[in-house]
Amino acid sequence: MSELLQAPPFAPRDDAILLREMNALSRWHLEGCPEYRKVWPNFKQATCFAELPFLHVGVFKNYAWRTRQEGVVHQRILKSSSTTGSASQVLLDNQSSTLQSQSSAAILRDSLGAESSPLLVLDDAKALLQRGEVSARMTAAMSLRPLASELHFLLKGGDAPEYLDWGKVAELCRQHSNLLLYGFTWMLWITWAQGAIPEDVRVLLRKTRIRFVHSGGWKKLEAIKVTRDQFDAALLANAAPGSSVLDFYGLVEQVGIIYPLCSAGFRHVPRWAAVLVRDPWTLLPLTSDHGMLQLMNPLALGAPYHSVLTEDLGRMVEGQCPCGRMGQRFELLGRMPRAELRGCANV
């Protein structure tokens, strides 16, 4: 892999090449992962993306999938943050990590530009030191590393607003006129947008151009009825003109592929990935109705997370996007709604 990475992310995609790579990768995983073979014992070849095998995103909470093939060296486990009890685990390998890093950097440069600036991360540096494991939050932050001239962690000792090192922020604002800041959406809201910014820091921030980047979902903000416009406005209120806010959607189970929100409100699929929307009751692909998003990419060599059926709802949108990007695009509609379990058993 992959000649597809050689061109800009939103240049026209060659479906034949991508399908060929996905077929080869599917066979690679079927040969190297017996459990995957049990799920898809009869797969031979797909003639279209919809025929490719996939794993439901939930299986990654149940089992640490691993493909044993020559040249694959598994390094560490990527764990999602979980609000529902169990976390997904994805085994990362050297080769895939390199490709995934190239992929996310290329996508982010398309949205943020190529300029480097100090990267501020709303996390604690200790999270980087855990042996053998890395969190989804840290992985998302480190996807911005190629755009960073320096790296700084702003939380010291905890996850709450009071642990944010405003002193460090002030120091960086004095030294630089442009900063790049990443945080999980909810963290950015509670520590920065709603945080008690010291007045002297606020003065400095208003002279600093900040590109805010966030990911991690809107569930908590929806619960307190904060809209995207309110979120963005709160962040930009304490930043210099020319500052921006970028939201991207991604999964640990599709590490390396992220979907920034474009100016027209859509998510664009890079040429080295593919997205389908499936009907939950039939799994038939849908061209415009909303359904379950299936995300695919040929970068995952160490475990079969190259084709994942998610419980996120979306709909494909045809035609040329006003933002100018080419290729597939979709509208992200949110997590699948759930209902309370009914019955007397303790399941």
């Binding site: 459990e35 049990k38 799920v39 794993l55 439901h56 939930g58 299986v59 149940n62 089992y63 939950p280 009751w281 039939t282 799994l283 379950m292 059926l309 419980e311 699948m336 709604p337 759930r338 209902a339 309370e340 379990l341 009914r342 019955g343 007397c344 058993a345 303790n346 399941v347």
Partner: protein, 384 residues
């Protein structure tokens, strides 16, 4: 309270109200219930409640509990309510709460009900419905003044109040949760009734199964899937082979769309996709039903349990294997057998609490979890 004494054969029950009028009041409610469906209830739950409060049904329960025909001059019994009741409802959404409340109301005693603090329950909306639609002053007055439902957590001091005041404590939940309730200080002559976590399964003879019984089995399963304590979590095909199990699965799949007419919610369909994959890894042969409505897994007793809220396993087994593999908390066996009574000696050696035709698996009654709990709400006075 009146001094009404109700005869039941040669026994008597001191109920303190006009029983016929009370039964008529419940029955009259049904005409209104069939025209409404409160949004908290599913169609199946509401339909079951409509059947439950019918006069013949409630009368049969009362007669099963109290009636006796003793020879003239022989001993007989007078049943009288023990006293106030305290009910701790399950933490999940279960029809057992309203059903127990309906039966408990026949004691004529005050009832204090604790609903779960974190999840919705069906008791409160049912009582609200009753207060709006019951036309009989006597029953409405009883429900309004004597039946109280509150929502608080396990640490709330009202738990202790309830235990201290009640002559009967009825607790739903895990063994640990129920033990904690019954450990609360309580009157020395009070009693505790436990409805714990149980599971159920279906036993079939391949030769005794026809399309009608399979349609019933599918419908019974689909009401709650694995979430119902009376739902068949697995089907044991007694004396059958692997091929018989596959054949049974194919027959059920062929009948599925006749039995299940509505789509399941999207997240359940998604969950079935997920568990079809998990179960394949575990070695099950998975048959996904139409529109991802459920999973049937064909396999053997030595496989890990089939996972998923709408999954049901078909496993061939000899009778002795079926008995040996029963879970400790088995409740109901729903059967479709050539000769069910021939299994009585085997059942006597197990913990099985109910052995009923498949169609009756969800039928709640006064005998539950191995005891006539309804009779326990009353003292029995020996009359000579």
């Amino acid at each position: 309270m009146s001094d009404a004494i109700q005869p039941f054969g040669t026994n008597f029950a001191a109920l303190g109200y006009d029983l016929e009028a009370r039964l008529d009041a419940w029955d009259a409610l049904r005409a209104k219930m069939v025209r409404t469906l409160p949004e908290t209830f599913t169609r199946d739950e509401w339909a079951y409640l409509i059947g439950f409060v019918a006069k013949p049904h409630l009368t049969a329960i009362l007669e099963r509990t109290f009636k006796s025909e003793r020879p003239h001059g022989g001993a007989c019994s007078l049943f009288r309510a023990r006293g106030p009741l305290a009910i701790w409802l399950p933490s999940n959404i279960s029809l057992l709460g309203p059903l127990v409340m309906v039966l408990a109301s026949f004691t004529g005693m005050p009832i204090r009900i604790k609903a779960g603090s974190k999840s919705p329950d069906l008791c409160a909306p049912f009582i609200a419905y009753l207060l709006e639609y019951i036309s009989t002053e006597e029953l409405r007055g009883y429900l309004q003044n004597q039946v109280k439902i509150e929502r608080f957590d396990r640490q709330d001091p009202r738990n202790a109040e309830m235990a201290a005041e009640a002559s009967v404590r009825i607790a739903f939940g895990s063994d640990a949760a129920v033990a904690a309730i019954h450990a609360l200080p309580h009157p020395p002559n009070s009693i505790g009734i436990h409805f714990g976590d149980h599971r159920s399964e279906a036993w079939l003879d391949a030769a005794a199964v026809d399309d009608a019984s399979l349609l019933t089995l599918i419908k019974v399963f689909m009401i709650y899937g694995q979430a119902g304590c009376t739902s068949p979590r697995r089907i044991l095909l007694l004396g059958g082979s692997n091929q018989d199990a596959e054949t049974l699965c194919n027959r059920m799949s062929g009948l599925w769309s006749q039995a299940v007419k509505r789509d399941i919610p999207m997240h359940v369909a998604s969950s079935n996709i997920l568990y079809s994959q998990i179960n394949k890894v575990q070695g099950w042969k998975i048959h996904m039903q139409e529109r991802h409505g459920a999973i049937i897994g064909v396999g053997a007793l030595d496989l890990p349990e089939l996972a998923g809220p709408m999954s049901i396993a078909i496993i061939p087994a000899r009778l002795e294997q079926a008995i040996a593999s029963l879970p400790a908390n088995i409740q109901t066996i729903g059967y479709q057998l050539k000769d069910a009574h021939a299994l009585l000696p085997a059942i006597a050696r197990t913990n099985i609490k109910r052995f009923v035709p498949i169609a009756q698996m969800h039928h709640f009654g006064p005998v539950w979890d191995g005891q006539n709990f309804f009779r326990l709400l009353f003292e029995e006075v020996d009359l000579q």
